[in-house]
Symmetry: C2
Subunit: 133 residues, 2 copies
DNA sequence: ATTGTAGGATTACACTTGTAATCAAAGCTG
DNA sequence: CAGCTTTGATTACAAGTGTAATCCTACAAT
């Protein structure tokens, strides 16, 4: 499967959140202002742009569609989890020789970890240890 | 600063490993077969290709050069750590709402963590706790 | 001094990507 | 039934990318 671009990923993301979905559903979801209490203006997606991206995703076999009357209903062909894992591994491979700790270390150094993050990590570790000793 | 492409990143990576370096130094480093005991053939970088990428990196102000006689010696302008952190954060933001644990969880689920990784993570956590309580 | 050569500079070129506009067919509306 | 509208399909187009080839000029070697 070919690579999925950034813009394509955002469309796919909207689809993952709710599918099957029509082009309009997806456009609407993309244009929902998710942070209403913020003053940053969310980018507005243009109708035509999203449709182009949907077409490209179909060509790349990342999503499928089925005719519903004269409209299409799209669905992902790719699982979100599988995709994000692939991308994560690719980045970790390229930047950190496949080791995850240096990535986490960067976050730690920048003070990008809070108590919840640490709790979640500890929980992952203890699960791992439960299964691997 | 504009984005650095994948190919550009590999060149930059070679430069980070050893600088200042001439174009030839960099080309040679890129073409060193790092996994000699493997049968996968490493990609060979073409002279001209690398020079193009160096030029683009200069334009993007990711690297600098100084004339040494009639040759150039290149040096990174960007710190590796800063760059990899920026990229990591960008991915974690886009795919995991900024949370790092889900990324690590993906690795765990795929059995991509070993004892050393866990040890490193634990050590990071205990450092964090030392500084944050 | 002439000529080959080693670089850096410039140009090339197809493919991808972001961002749409235009086209065409199928319904909807008066 | 004849346009108007909706919606997918096709086309557009500049910028970025991967991958080089060609050009040009200062040295090196004969």
């Amino acid at each position: 499967m070919t690579e999925i671009s950034n813009a394509e990923f955002e469309v796919l993301e909207a689809l993952w959140q709710n599918y099957p979905a029509s082009a309009n559903d997806i456009i609407k979801k993309l244009n929902e202002n998710t942070d209403t209490d913020s003053d940053v203006q969310e980018k507005q997606w243009h109708d035509k742009t999203v449709k182009t991206l949907l077409n490209r995703l179909v060509k790349k076999q990342a999503i499928s569609f089925e005719k519903q009357q004269r409209h299409y209903l799209y669905s992902p062909l790719l699982e979100r989890e599988a995709y994000t894992l692939k991308e994560s591994k690719s980045l970790v491979e390229r930047m950190f020789s496949g080791k995850i700790a240096p990535l986490v270390a960067g976050f730690a150094k920048q003070n990008d970890l809070n108590k919840d993050d640490i709790k979640a990590l500890k929980s992952l570790i203890s699960d791992w240890e439960k299964n691997n000793d």
